[in-house]
Each structure stands twice: as structure tokens, then as C-alpha cells.
């Protein structure tokens, strides 16, 4: 029975299929919101699902002169990484399926798998757009990763634990967003970088390098990368709500808080122009990292005073 239950958790609910389905709905919501803000009609509710089915039905072309095994496995690893990471999160307002002290670090790194795999996938092919895209993807990864992680660790330091459920318990009783406003902003912007949302979409800037690192991907591989991104959207929003918006206690809590964040993301995407990769790196290392370190200092000082 235990095996069955574990499999159910891993594959169907709250992991696996549920995260993917939820991700598709949120992806649609994001696209629809941006479209409405841009005075467009936007996609219908089943568009991400239709895209997915279409891609799955299509032939997957493996280009010559790539490492075929790597080419096929990278999207699977990427998706697996995100889905595994999601198991440690309070998805849909439930308690995390699995938990151990230090799971925050593991989860955050698992979420980076997607970007890392995208970068390697681009570097694996010989397509010039992919190569430029891969360079940009990895450059961007190295620029936002440190500040994003530090911003995520901010509440952890305040809570005195690196366990997601402990931090959530802390944030339920403390107004973290008021105590660490800089951390919140940096984490939100870092999430946009992770999801390659405008203004951080230089790695897939269509007017320059077509589809960036994923230019050579088609069919199943592309579908899996898309699914990975949908799942990452869910994971990121959940983590943000849990840490900064007072935790997630029930289903309504989950829906309201994540959707508010999504609305903010859509708004920023609409208002922004794509930044160049050098501007992105400059932004993160010149301001992002310094500000978040300052936030840490303040947090530590406050903690010291309270204790």
C-alpha cells in the first residue's frame, strides 16, 4: 500500500500530473493577463494543453552532429528536476509531501536544473542561434542565481531553519514582506529571470536569435522543456507565497496568493523592454547582490536585537 501511495504522490497528486496541470492553467493565466494588458485578445483557456498535445504528436527531429543521447535526455532531466523539487513545497496548500532539514537548498538547486539543462541543450547543438542562446542562458543563470538564493535564504535566516515547513511557520506569524521588502523584490525579479520572462528574455530574444537555446528542439523534447517551465512557474510562485506572503494554509490561500503574484509578474512583463545580456548581468551584480546582502545584514542585526 505504501508503495502505491508514494507512487500516487509522486506521479499524480500533489506531485507529477497535478503540478503540470496547474502549471498549464497558470501559464494560460499569465499569457491571458499579458495579452489583455497589451490590448490583445489572448489565448483560450486550453491553449497550453493544445500546444502540448500538438508538440507531443509531432515528430522529434534530432539534428545531425549533436550528441543524440544528451539531446533526448536533457529535457527529461530538466522536467524531473523541477518535479522533484516541487515535492518539497506546500503545493495547493497541502503540507509538503516530503521534508527534511535543509530541503530548501535542495529544492532551489533542483529548480536550477531546468535552466542548466536548457543551456547545455543549446550548447549541445551546432546551431548558431542556439549557441548564442546557450551562452546567454548560462550567463543569466550565473548572474541571478546567487542573489535569488540569498533572497530565498533571507526568511530562512530570520526563521533560523533551512527547512521549508519551518520557514513557512515563521512567516505565518511574522510579516516577512515588511521585514524584508528588498528580499521580496529581488526574489520576485529573480523568479522572472528563472522563467526567462521579459525583461529577462534575452536568452530567447526572437528578434535576434529566434528561439535561443531551444531553436533545434521540436516535438517531444520541446514539449518537455515547456512542461518544465510550467512546473517551475508553480514552484516559484508557491515558494514566494510561502516565504514572503505569510505562508500557505489552505487551498484558497494558495490560489489567492499565487494569483496575486502572477498578476504582478504579468504587469512587469507588460511594462518592460527586453534588456540586453550585459545590462542584465550589470543589474544583478551591481544592484541585486549588494542590496540583498544589505538586507541580510539588517535581518541579522534585527535578529540579534530581538534575541
Amino acid at each position: 500500500m505504501d508503495v502505491l501511495k508514494t507512487l500516487f504522490i509522486l506521479l499524480i497528486f500533489p506531485g507529477g500530473l497535478f503540478v503540470l496541470a496547474n502549471g498549464m492553467v497558470y501559464e494560460w493565466a499569465d499569457r491571458k493577463l499579458v495579452a489583455r494588458l497589451q490590448n490583445r485578445v489572448g489565448p483560450r483557456w486550453f491553449q497550453p494543453l493544445a500546444d502540448l498535445l500538438k508538440l507531443l504528436a509531432k515528430e522529434e527531429v534530432v539534428p545531425e552532429s549533436v550528441n543524440a543521447r544528451l539531446f533526448v535526455w536533457l529535457p527529461i532531466v530538466a522536467l524531473a528536476g523541477v518535479l522533484t523539487g516541487a515535492l518539497y513545497l506546500p503545493i495547493a496548500g497541502l503540507q509538503p509531501s516530503y521534508s527534511f532539514s535543509g530541503d530548501l537548498i535542495v529544492a532551489v538547486y533542483l529548480f536550477s536544473m531546468l535552466t542548466l539543462c536548457t543551456g547545455i541543450a543549446g550548447a549541445n547543438t551546432n546551431n548558431r542561434f542556439s549557441l548564442v542562446g546557450a551562452t546567454r542562458t548560462l550567463t543569466q543563470l550565473f548572474s541571478y542565481e546567487a542573489p535569488f538564493l540569498l533572497a530565498m535564504l533571507g526568511p530562512a535566516v530570520a526563521a533560523g531553519s533551512w527547512k521549508i515547513s519551518d520557514i513557512m511557520a515563521y512567516s505565518s506569524t511574522h510579516p516577512v514582506i515588511l521585514l524584508q521588502p528588498v528580499g521580496f523584490v529581488i526574489a520576485l525579479i529573480g523568479l522572472m529571470g528563472k522563467l526567462e520572462m521579459r525583461p529577462f528574455d534575452a536568452p530567447e530574444a526572437e528578434t535576434e536569435i529566434v528561439a535561443g537555446a531551444l531553436t533545434e528542439y521540436s516535438g517531444r523534447g520541446l514539449a518537455l522543456f515547456y512542461l518544465g517551465r510550467y512546473a517551475e512557474l508553480i514552484a516559484g510562485l508557491t515558494l514566494m507565497s510561502a516565504f514572503y506572503l505569510g505562508g500557505i494554509h489552505n487551498q484558497l490561500d494558495y490560489i489567492v496568493k499565487t494569483l496575486v503574484l502572477l498578476l504582478a509578474l504579468a504587469g512587469v512583463q507588460t511594462l518592460m523592454t527586453r534588456l540586453r545580456i550585459d545590462q542584465i548581468v550589470g543589474l544583478w551584480w551591481r544592484y541585486g547582490t549588494l542590496l540583498v546582502l544589505l538586507q541580510w545584514l539588517v535581518t541579522l542585526l534585527l535578529k540579534g536585537m530581538v534575541l
Binding site: 542561434f129 521579459r198 530574444a205 528578434t207 511594462l271 540586453r276
Partner: protein
């Protein structure tokens, strides 16, 4: 492609075109990059080459008008007007003032349409899709006006040899004024956006800068030249049609960067709105057309018109027959294309679509002059096309 990358390790070439999301029309650019920095650029045109210059030599003067109007979908009126003005000059025809004023009116509406289109495309190249969507929505206003005016959203066919086809009715006049007032308000907003949006300015200010000296040396024309401080506008220097009665104020900027090109084009919109108001207020009464001979007196003439993108130049030679002897078309994009290649070097790859869009390139204008291929890849000639048509009609 893969071998090229492996063999040519020293030069990493990023091809843009002939089919590429950044280009709405086919052109081929090859940017040699070192990391993200562009170290070289080449251009290859002709993907939309239709042999129009050759084709007009075997068509009569009236047929040529319709062919030349189809050089470009955006500035079609400009091509038709340049041709008509030239042929009328050769024939010594006196075109009624009302017709000339209506030509100006359509030309300015077309300029509004073209500049708004450009604003959207340029914003899209920078990754600012919100501005793109909004400016294209507003562009519909002027396209609807042009449709109710001439019957077409593009390729208006407002000109005929010796005058124009369509007249301004009181209803239409008030609709145009209303539409223009709406657009003026919107344009003010866009001007505000492109000059104050910090993130957008990061992509435009100081990017693709062309000094006045370089602009003069490269012979750039139109808004691209005016953004670099080169006071060159045919509407002012050599007024044609009714521009002598409706004088234009030149719009200049000094900086020469992409921001200046945005500002110059948007400010030109205000000038166009003002002109449209003025033309409608002071539209001279009278005929719309004058009779034109079927054969045009032998001679040569040069006709120059300020298209939305800069100076369009026509050289027309008649040998006194039904057909033109030679028509040479020099479109503004050809002049400005050189500036892209010259300013590209040293910039980031990410700036390339912007710099390219900065001159408002029009590839079908460039490639006016047919290589139609059938399914088997063989070249189709005019004669074989005619044969096919005849065969098709017989089968029916």
C-alpha cells in the same frame, strides 16, 4: 551549418534572414560576432526582386502606374505620386490644384500610417511588445480613414495620370479630422513613453549613433538623416504637388542615436496632423483631373518626393511612344542601408535588430526591380506566363 561553425573558428557568423523573426520582409544579413560584439556585417538583397524597372518598359504609361504603385505596400502612394508628377511634367500637363492638394492629403495620411507602423516594429525589435500592440491598434484608425477615402487600406490607387480619383466629401473631412485628433493625443503619449521610459531608453539612448558628418558622407536620407541633424526634406527643399501652398516645418534632432530617430518620427507625426488639418481647411475647389495624352512627349525628367523613409528618386525617360523608355527608381532604403552596415560594427548583437529597424527598412522598395519560379524550380518568364494564361483560358 555545422561544418561552417567547426571549420571557421575565427569567424562566428550569425545569419539574420532571409527568413527571420526580426525581419518582416526578406533580406539577408550576416553579422560576424565576437561573443556578443558585432565585428562585421554584410547585406544581400533581392529576395523580393520583381523586375519592375524592366517590366514597365514593355507596358504603357497607364499600366506602369499600377505596377509602380505595387513596388511597396506601405508607401505605395509615394511611388504612384512620384511617377505621376514626373510623367505630367514630361507631358506638360497642368494638374488641377484640388488634385494636388488631395495628393498631399493622402501622402500625409500615408506618412502617419507608415510612422505608426514603424514605431510598432521598432518597439517589437527592442522587445517592447506593449508599445507595438498599442501603436498598431491606433494605426488601424488611419488605415480605416484611408479605406473610406480611397477604397483600399494599402495600395490606395488614389493617383491617375493627370490628377486623382477620389474626392474629399464633408463627411469624410470630419471623419479624418476626428481620427487625426485622436491620433495626435495618442502620439503625445507615445512621445512621452519613448523619451521617459528608463528601461526603453537603455536600449535606444546612445545606440547606433551616427554623427552629422557620417550621415552626410553616407548619403542617408529622410528621418534617419534628420535625426542626425542633416536638414534634408524634399517637401521643403523642392516642394512638389501642393507642398508649396502647405509649407512643412522641418523636424530635426542632433543626437543621431535611436532615441533621436524615435523622437524625429513621432514629431513628424504632429507635423503631418497639422498639415492634414490645414489641407482639409483650405482645400481648393475645382476639378480632380486633367486629360492626359496616351503618348508622352519624348524627354527625360527627374521626379523627387519625400517618402516616409526619405527621398524617393525617379528618373523617367520617354521616347514619345506609348511605353516608357526607361524608369529608374531609387528608393530611400537603398541609401540608408549602407548606414546599417557602417554603424553595426562595435555594437552588441542584441542591438542589431534595433539598428536595422532604425532606418525603417523597406525591402520590397529596395528589391523593386522578376524571378518567379515554378514548382520545378525553373525560371518563369513573362512570355511563358502569358502562354499559361492562354492555355488556361482555352481549357475553360
Amino acid at each position: 551549418m555545422s561544418e561552417a561553425v567547426v571549420q571557421d573558428k575565427k569567424r562566428f557568423v550569425v545569419p539574420i534572414g532571409p527568413q527571420h523573426p526580426a525581419l518582416k520582409e526578406p533580406g539577408h544579413f550576416e553579422f560576424t560576432v565576437d561573443g556578443e560584439i558585432v565585428t562585421g556585417a554584410t547585406v544581400r538583397l533581392g529576395y523580393a526582386h520583381r523586375g519592375i524597372e524592366k517590366a514597365v518598359e514593355s507596358r504603357n504609361w497607364t499600366q506602369s502606374l499600377y505596377l509602380l504603385e505595387r513596388i511597396c505596400g506601405i508607401c505605395s502612394h509615394v511611388h504612384a505620386m512620384t511617377y505621376c508628377l514626373g510623367v505630367e511634367k514630361l507631358a506638360g500637363a497642368e494638374v488641377p490644384p484640388r488634385a494636388q492638394a488631395i495628393r498631399v492629403l493622402v501622402a500625409e495620411l500615408e506618412r502617419v500610417h507608415s510612422h505608426l507602423l514603424w514605431l510598432g516594429v521598432a518597439a517589437h525589435e527592442a522587445g517592447f511588445d506593449t508599445l507595438f500592440m498599442y501603436s498598431w491598434r491606433d494605426r488601424e484608425t488611419v488605415m480605416d480613414l484611408l479605406e473610406s477615402f480611397t477604397g483600399n487600406r494599402v495600395n490606395y490607387s488614389a493617383n491617375i495620370l493627370g490628377g486623382v480619383k477620389c474626392d474629399v466629401t464633408p463627411d469624410l473631412a470630419s471623419a479624418i479630422l476626428k481620427g487625426v485628433d485622436f491620433l495626435e493625443e495618442r502620439s503625445r503619449h507615445y512621445l512621452n513613453v519613448v523619451t521617459t521610459d528608463e528601461v526603453f531608453l537603455q536600449r535606444t539612448r546612445g545606440v547606433g549613433t551616427m554623427s552629422k558628418e557620417v550621415a552626410e558622407r553616407l548619403g542617408v536620407v529622410g528621418p534617419t538623416a534628420r535625426a542626425s541633424g542633416v536638414a534634408r526634406d524634399i517637401r521643403i527643399e523642392a516642394p512638389y504637388a501642393a507642398y508649396a501652398d502647405f509649407p512643412v516645418q522641418i523636424v530635426l534632432a542632433e543626437a543621431g542615436d535611436l532615441e533621436a530617430r524615435f523622437v524625429v518620427r513621432i514629431k513628424e507625426l504632429f507635423e503631418s496632423y497639422r498639415l492634414i488639418h490645414e489641407v482639409i481647411d483650405k482645400l481648393p475647389p475645382g476639378e480632380l483631373q486633367t486629360r492626359m495624352p496616351r503618348k508622352i512627349k519624348a524627354g527625360e525628367t527627374i521626379s523627387r518626393v519625400e517618402a516616409p523613409r526619405g527621398e524617393a528618386f525617379y528618373f523617367i525617360k520617354s521616347n514619345g511612344s506609348d511605353n516608357p523608355e526607361r524608369i529608374k527608381v531609387r528608393t530611400p532604403t537603398l541609401c540608408n542601408m549602407g548606414s546599417v552596415v557602417a554603424t553595426a560594427v562595435g555594437h552588441q548583437l542584441a542591438d542589431m535588430p534595433m539598428i536595422l529597424a532604425g532606418i525603417d527598412p523597406c525591402f520590397s522598395c529596395n528589391d523593386r526591380t522578376v524571378a518567379v519560379r515554378d514548382a520545378a524550380g525553373a525560371l518563369v518568364t513573362w512570355e511563358s506566363l502569358r502562354q499559361r494564361r492562354l492555355a488556361h483560358q482555352e481549357n475553360k
